[in-house]
Subunit: 526 residues, 2 copies
């Protein structure tokens, strides 16, 4: 059994606090900088690598981070998790999203079911369904093929699947794997559903209702919107809709759906992209084989995360460096900056993944903690961000650690040469330039043009963004967040912080309010 201790009980934490800080502009200068770039790199799954040369670490700090990893028993905790221990202590649940894409350890049985088999079986059922939609066995009322798939879901049922869909759209178009256009409805704002319904061809659209509990108010409301619209168009809603839900939810085995696919309580929403929540929409959009490859990439990343030496385990090392920046260097936010337009919504997914998992003020036993936990996460793709908020990142008064992602090839490999270089070379040159500009800075006679440097970044480098590398990238960040949760000794798998707002919103709608709540409600004429 692992020892679940608070961070400030670890001897290595104290040692890290008093360890000498690294002068980043100094160590990144000249040939020493070049040496760091060669040396401070860890191989990742799918031929990617995690380069942390521009992070404010050196051999001493890395040694202490390794010591902390051992003292915090990070590998043992991961092992306990994938072997089915009840890691989600608040809700008393196992945490099994890794099993949706592979099995790292023992068979995990819950409710009398081998969970790996259960997830594989659901993936197979989805694949069969998608194949039938694609080959015209499952069709609309007129016997015509469905051309569009619309996911109705919010939070984890929206952000991850949407980010993954956008990440693979260009790849799929290029590779001839683009089977169906996907759209997404998430917000309870009625304009969201109305806008999507106006845009799609309802007669050839298949809707996926995604809610684990089957009770998410936004999602049920949007289901009603779509059902209404289908009926008004003279269509039978039950022939245009499937569900992804848990077997015990009110949506399971309902006649309102063509069919239902199942997940369970051991997969949190923000960790559900590799379950049916991502599986249905991605298999329909790009084919089951594409989704299978995505899972293989994630499984490969999970295997590297099981490596016990943090210097060979990119997810663990990323977690350790992030903890060091947050708790020792005191930086409150982290920017995620993928140099890939296809990853335009990947930062929004990571924002949920990270902030919902580790934005906690009590440890896994519910006791208050005396140190900061999860940072604010934000980001946009480069080079767009360079023309936006990078000004503050370079010259603002706060230091914001950066996580770059870059690929050597574009998805379409369609390019033009302008001023002697292709666009993809310009893109790569920009991310390289930014790393060095942030780390090293530059002095100037004009103080307006002075760059202090000392702004740390890492970069994940891949060949190209395809289903496998995307799966690996996703799993890398899931595992990073998990390891940071272990370091902070918080429960990364519940989200009690979202409940109070829901309760108060219900009271407002029931006119059961007083004080400020009543007054605000009256301004909004509720």
């Amino acid at each position: 059994m692992a020892n679940w201790n608070d961070l400030d009980k670890l001897a290595s934490y104290e040692e890290l606090r008093s360890a000498k800080k690294v002068d980043l502009p100094q160590v990144m200068a000249g040939e020493n900088g070049a040496e760091r770039v060669k040396k401070y790199s860890v191989p990742m799954a799918c031929n990617m690598s995690f380069n942390y040369a521009a992070k404010a670490v050196d051999e001493d700090i890395l040694g202490l981070l390794k010591k902390l990893a051992q003292e915090a028993e990070l590998s043992d905790k991961f092992k306990a998790l994938y072997n089915g221990e009840v890691i989600n202590t608040g809700e008393k649940r196992m945490v099994l999203h890794h099993l949706t894409r592979g099995q790292l350890g023992d068979d995990v049985v819950a409710d009398g079911v081998n969970k790996r088999e259960f997830y594989v079986n659901e993936q197979r059922r989805i694949a069969e369904f998608a194949d039938k939609v694609h080959n015209g066995e499952i069709v609309n009322g007129k016997g015509e093929k469905f051309t569009t798939v619309v996911q109705i879901g919010i939070g984890g049922s929206d952000l991850g699947p949407r980010a993954m869909y956008l990440a693979l759209e260009g790849w799929a178009r290029k590779m001839g794997k683009f089977m169906m256009q996907a759209e997404f409805i998430s917000n309870v704002d009625p304009d969201d559903a109305t806008n999507v319904i106006k845009k799609v061809d309802l007669e050839h659209s298949l809707f996926i209702l995604v809610s684990k509990s089957g009770t998410t108010l936004e999602t049920l409301t949007n289901q009603a919107f779509v059902t209404d619209a289908l009926k008004k168009a003279g269509l039978d809603p039950s022939k245009h809709m499937i569900a992804v839900t848990s077997e015990t939810s009110p949506l399971a085995k309902s006649e309102d759906f063509l069919t239902a696919f199942y997940m369970d309580d051991y997969i949190g929403g923000r960790y559900s992209s590799t379950s049916g929540v991502g599986g249905a929409v991605l298999s329909l959009a790009f084919g089951p084989q594409t989704f299978a490859e995505f899972l293989e990439g994630a499984a490969e990343a999970d295997r590297t995360a099981a490596e016990t030496d943090p210097l060979k385990n990119a997810a663990m090392l990323d977690a350790l460096i992030g903890f060091y920046e947050r708790n020792i260097l005191g930086y409150p936010a982290t920017a995620v900056l993928p140099y890939s337009q296809a990853l335009l919504r990947f930062p929004a997914h990571l924002q949920q993944l990270d902030m919902e998992s580790n934005g906690k003020s009590v440890n896994r036993f519910g006791e208050p903690i005396n140190y900061v936990t999860g940072p604010v996460i934000f980001g946009e793709p480069g080079t767009n961000g360079q023309h936006s908020f990078y000004q503050l990142l370079h010259q603002g008064t706060d230091i914001v650690p950066l996580q770059f992602v870059g690929f050597k090839k574009s998805q379409y490999e369609n390019d033009v040469v302008i001023e002697g270089s292709t666009s993809i070379k310009k893109l790569c040159a920009n991310v390289v330039a930014q790393i060095v500009a942030f780390a090293c800075g530059k002095d100037d006679e004009n103080p307006n043009k002075r760059f202090q440097g000392g702004r740390p970044s890492s970069i994940i480098i891949g060949e190209s963004l395809d289903p496998r590398s995307l799966g690996a990238l996703l799993a890398h960040f899931e595992n990073k967040v998990m390891f940071q949760g272990f370091i902070w000794n918080v429960n990364s798998f519940d989200q009690e912080g979202v409940q109070l707002g829901k309760i108060l919103a219900k009271r407002v709608l029931a006119h059961d309010t007083e004080g400020a709540l009543a007054e605000y409600a009256s301004i909004f004429e509720i």
Copy 2:
């Protein structure tokens, strides 16, 4: 002439530092909370209001903020700005974006031209052009109408116009003002242009190339992409493209374009949505009248920003409270949370507007300053964010001040009743509930379900999101950022921090590298 002093030279700043802090959960409880909601509200343009009841202020703090506004001469500085003083000291330029939508003070003449007349004339030229496109006077090579407009631009030429387009799309569809679909190409990543080109009907697409200098590398590269694609489709690029640029740029009066519309160096990119940069695409998409209404809303907000009493000037008060949270309470980030799906990219625009303007470490004279300036800005629309990063906002270890925006009506006014309420009522109930949940918190026996509260928020409340209210909302934030720049005594109108990366990227592409830069470049095989 105004006195441009650093913040820490102001007596009121010291007074604010030692003033008693407000206990937000306490003052927002019970009837006192209800009183605050009634009292702490400032009317804004276009029938909107700024409610700051849930901010950690009271009469004492507000009195000191008012004193600081006077001591910092905020109103005089705004007056100097709109009367044409050289406020952008770094680049030695006037700051004239307010003149694109109205005139608050004296005639401003530059280069022998009355600038208000110049901007009005460009708006008129754009309106005439848009009318001709809409009524079929300007057509493609086959004599057919253009159906799609594609903006090619990055940073301020992309984020603002894109956010405004998305904000008005639903309104326009509902009101029968939807004239042309708009798409945007921004990133130098070749997949961005390729994806858009694959999706649009090139033969019926009109492209707008937007670059003030006419030298933005991303934009020229993407122009080449589009030109190539048009030629390959047997089309004449010069018949499918217009430019928005400055009169001195290489793009002005070029035969590559159907026509060009002009802006000038007195309008920064992030402040250019109300110039031709936003004007061309919005007038083509939704008609010149819609764009004119958008400008009227912005002009009305500008007039309220000229009010000298901060308690009657929402933009100034918003700026003062934000400064108080940043410099006195020490909060490093701010979340912008519009409860409107149509505002999905408004936070990304504000992220640029705010972080690029005030992410500075030297004052307007180039001298180092001893206090923090612009915070990290991020956000997503509600209710989506509730199912994502709100967990950290509620229960994380850091406090993040919040800026809500909400409207009483949806754009389409298409709705369903589920569980006794419409979606728009649910949306409004949620934002109301969140304000109170964040401010007041809630105790619980289970520490996992405990909410500390004390998390401050303001809300801008409007009737509905239409061109006028959108213009007012945009101008509110532009003016807020401007006032904060005055408080911090920084130059909010340059962006020298983006230059170093550009220089290094050019060196990488020229293979003129050494040390770490060379090593990273070799990993990317540049």
